[in-house]
């Protein structure tokens, strides 16, 4: 019964440490992401990752994470892509193909860029939907980035066409005819507008760009937030086919806004905390579950890393469980979302809060020291004299360069949960057995650091007292999450008790007189086990203290029986009891000799009969002498003999059916022969009588 309890204690410790690494702490993109990416995006034999769009997403992710793109497999991809570019395809495929060519650095000599440019320009002119415009403009921009000369013929008109699809609340429609608007479309539209501005050079009217800036501000009014400062965009799930989800929507808007901010001469009116909130949203996903989500996350973070609005800086703790015994230092890292180096900063620990949100008054605001080699800010904890426990640490990050403060988003107050663990001392541990009148007490000191076991004995009229004190490294009295004393009988019946706390002490008093029924009147040896556990206790105790011989009175008839102990469920597959069969004892047979003797005795009357026959004077005078009757007579006697022989065989080994069959034949034969013989004899004797 206590085994699950013990497991629960251990789980509590594990969960405690697990909770710290997720949830409230955000980590920048690390090598864990890179290895996950190589596992996620596994190219097929020909170097593709599925469709053209998926291939582009995979390669773009590899490019951002800095993973190897020069593998020989991708030679095949280059070839397929260049074929795609030469053949007539959709604008979307052209767009993705051009992007892949740019990422892989494929050889572009064979690609006919003029033809592609003209196709894209026609697409821009004839486009009817937002996506068409987006892909064709994106394609043209990629071609321009390859070094080719691309001029957008009617930049104003295109800008107007895209702007016409916008709504008043900052969202965009997909085309003129659709009624619903979406934030995802807004992101795409902004990116397309940014492409127009880049392709047009300086032809676009600045007032038009100002209008779009206002649209962006309206769009950002729709931003949603979590309590810890994470911000994201989401839409109502009106049409399941069109619904993209918060990640896709936020990713689209992030790409769009950062792209537009790059081409806008004036700064966008978006606060740094909004950018930081979006960055937190993408980072809090951790490692995403699907390839598409991976692309959205990494692509968005890449656009945030170097955006012109403000670059988000993330504070993370490499270790949130700090040991006072090991004199751990509090270490803090401040980096960009991709783990790159931040500018010169000052990190200060403002407050330390206990779990019930009270401030640790002994702590004053401290600035962390900087270690330039490891690029870590650290603080020594021992001089702070903070006791063991779970704390919320409140940090503030400020950029040292006052001009740079505008470029970076650091957030106001950053709250991180940390555990300070330490060695808990056990003092004054005692166990005593006393009589009910508390007259005499036999006290034994428990030394829990040694392996020794105590052994006690008590009867039902006595009391048991177990007491101990727990002290933290700083000398305060410590209250652990769980303290349990377990009594286990030889028959594996267990009882649990929780000691009570008073001022500084933990005390357990067991009055056996009242516990006799609870113990099911089982006398005998009980093992005493003590379990003390807490998340911040480095030396949790789970051990057997010793044993006690309990002498309890006999159970009355109506007493409850101890609960059945669980049987090992696999034991029913083990060998079973051996069954001894009882056979019917064979009848006693008489000794062989006696039986044989009597058999001989039975023959005697026969002999006597034969002798008697001789004495009487039997003769064979009546036996017919002439040939035919003689044969018949012989046959008659032979037949009778045969039947008797058949009977003997029947007794020895034949069955009734065979016997009856044979008897049938013999019987018929015998009847015939016998009739002949006897009628002959009858006629002879009749002749004798008459003669």
């Amino acid at each position: 019964m206590a085994k699950p309890l013990v497991l629960h204690l251990l789980l509590l410790l594990i969960c405690g440490s697990a909770l710290l690494s997720s949830g409230s702490v955000i980590h920048p993109i690390s090598d864990a992401h890179r290895s996950a990416a190589t596992e996620f995006f596994v190219p097929a034999a020909d170097g593709s990752f599925g469709s053209l769009e998926e291939t582009y997403e995979a390669l773009r992710t590899f490019q951002i994470l800095g993973l190897d793109r020069s593998s020989a497999k991708f030679e095949g991809t280059c070839k397929t892509v260049s074929e795609k570019l030469s053949s007539p395809t959709t604008t979307k495929d052209l767009y993705h193909a051009l992007k892949i060519t740019a990422i892989l650095g494929c050889r572009t000599e064979s690609i006919e860029f003029d033809g592609i440019t003209s196709r894209l320009q026609t697409a821009v002119k004839d486009a009817s939907s937002l996506l068409e415009l987006y892909y064709s403009l994106g394609g043209l921009l990629t071609v321009k980035e390859q070094g080719k000369d691309v001029i957008l013929s009617d930049a104003d008109g295109t800008f107007q066409a895209i702007k016409a699809l916008s709504q008043s609340d900052g969202r965009w429609r997909y085309d003129k005819d659709s009624t619903g608007s979406s934030a995802f479309a807004a992101g795409i539209a902004l990116e397309a507008l940014a492409s127009v501005v880049s392709l047009a050079g300086s032809d676009i009217d600045q007032s038009k760009i100002a209008v779009v800036r206002k649209d962006i501000t309206k769009l950002f009014d729709r931003i949603k937030h979590y309590d810890d400062g994470t911000l994201y965009f989401d839409e109502k799930n009106v049409d399941p086919d069109q619904y993209k989800g918060p990640l896709a929507t936020s990713a689209s808007i992030t790409s769009g806004v950062t792209a537009f901010a790059a081409v806008s001469s004036e700064k966008l009116n978006i606060g740094g905390e909004k950018i930081l909130g979006l960055a937190k949203f993408f980072l809090s996903i951790g490692i995403p579950g699907t390839a598409k989500d991976f692309f959205y996350q990494i692509n968005s973070l890449a656009s945030l890393e170097n955006n012109r609005i403000s670059i988000p800086l993330v504070l993370s703790l490499p270790a949130t469980v700090l040991s006072l015994t090991a004199k751990d230092q509090l270490k803090v890292e401040v980096t960009t979302v991709f783990g790159s180096h931040a500018p010169s900063l000052a990190v200060s620990l403002l407050k330390v809060l206990t779990p019930d949100s009270k401030e640790v008054t002994s702590f004053e605001k401290k600035e962390l020291e900087y270690d330039p080699e490891n690029r870590i800010h650290f603080l020594d904890l021992s001089p702070l004299k903070i006791d063991v426990g779970k704390y919320s640490l409140i940090f503030k990050v400020s950029v040292n360069d006052p001009e740079g403060a505008d470029l970076y988003a650091t957030g106001d107050q950053i709250i991180v949960t940390a555990f300070l663990t330490g060695f808990i001392k056990v003092d004054k541990a005692e166990i005593a057995v006393s009589d009910s009148d508390a007259a005499s007490e036999s006290v034994q000191k428990l030394d829990l650091s040694k392996e020794s076991l105590i052994s006690l004995s008590a009867n039902h009229l006595q009391k048991l007292r177990l007491s101990l004190q727990l002290t933290t490294p700083l000398g305060h009295s410590f209250k652990p999450h769980q303290m349990v004393v377990k009594f286990r009988h030889e028959s594996k019946v267990e009882h649990l008790f929780v000691p009570e706390t008073s001022s500084r002490q933990y005390k357990l008093v067991l009055n056996f007189l009242g516990l006799v029924e609870k113990f099911y009147y089982l006398s005998g040896r009980y093992e005493i086990e003590l379990a003390v556990g807490d998340a911040v206790m480095e030396n949790s105790i789970l051990r057997s203290i010793g044993s006690i011989e309990l002498d309890l009175p006999e159970a009355p008839e109506k007493a409850a029986k101890p609960p059945a102990q669980p049987v090992d469920p696999l034991s029913r597959f083990g060998p079973k009891e051996e069954i001894s069969h009882i056979f019917r004892a064979p009848e006693k047979r008489p000794p062989q000799g006696l039986s044989l003797g009597f058999m001989g005795l039975t023959i005697l009357p026969l002999l006597a009969f034969l002798i008697g026959l001789l004495r009487i004077g039997v003769n064979f005078k009546g036996f017919p002498t002439s040939a035919a009757p003689a044969t018949f007579a012989i046959l008659f006697h032979g037949g009778i003999g045969a039947v008797l022989l058949l009977y003997v065989l029947f007794w020895l080994k034949l069955d009734l059916f065979t016997t009856l069959k044979a008897l049938g034949f013999l019987g018929v034969f015998l009847l015939f022969v016998g009739h002949r013989t006897l009628s002959y004899l009858a006629s002879t004797s009749a002749k004798q009588k008459t003669a």
Partner: protein, 114 residues
């Protein structure tokens, strides 16, 4: 007492003389009956000594003796010339009946013997 034994002796002697007058064939049959009954008695004595397991064998054995004795007695009745009732029955016919009945009896006996 001496008179009693004398009377008994005289009685037995007269019985013997009278018996000597019976025909040989009847004497044979009488001897056969005595033989059968003696065998039966020996079997009963054996059973009394060792117990009746297996009972079917005991019954079979005893009944065969008794049955054949009974059939022999029937034969004697039918063959006896002094018996008016069976005057017209030829003794051969009686003997044939005897043989047949004995064979049937012994078939049953052998089946029951086990």
């Amino acid at each position: 007492m001496a008179k009693g034994t004398n009377d008994a002796k005289l009685l037995i002697q007269s019985l013997r003389k009278a018996y000597a007058a019976t025909p040989t064939s009847l004497k044979i049959i009488d001897l056969y009956v005595v033989y059968a009954v003696a065998t039966a008695l020996i079997q009963v004595a054996y059973m009394a000594m060792v117990g009746s397991f297996p009972f079917n064998s005991f019954l079979s054995g005893v009944l065969s003796c008794v049955g054949t004795a009974v059939l022999a007695v029937c034969l004697r009745i039918q063959v006896n010339k002094d018996n008016k009732e069976f005057k017209d029955l030829p003794p051969e016919r009686a003997f044939a009946d005897f043989v047949l009945c004995n064979l049937v009896l012994h078939l049953v006996i052998m089946n029951f013997l086990g």
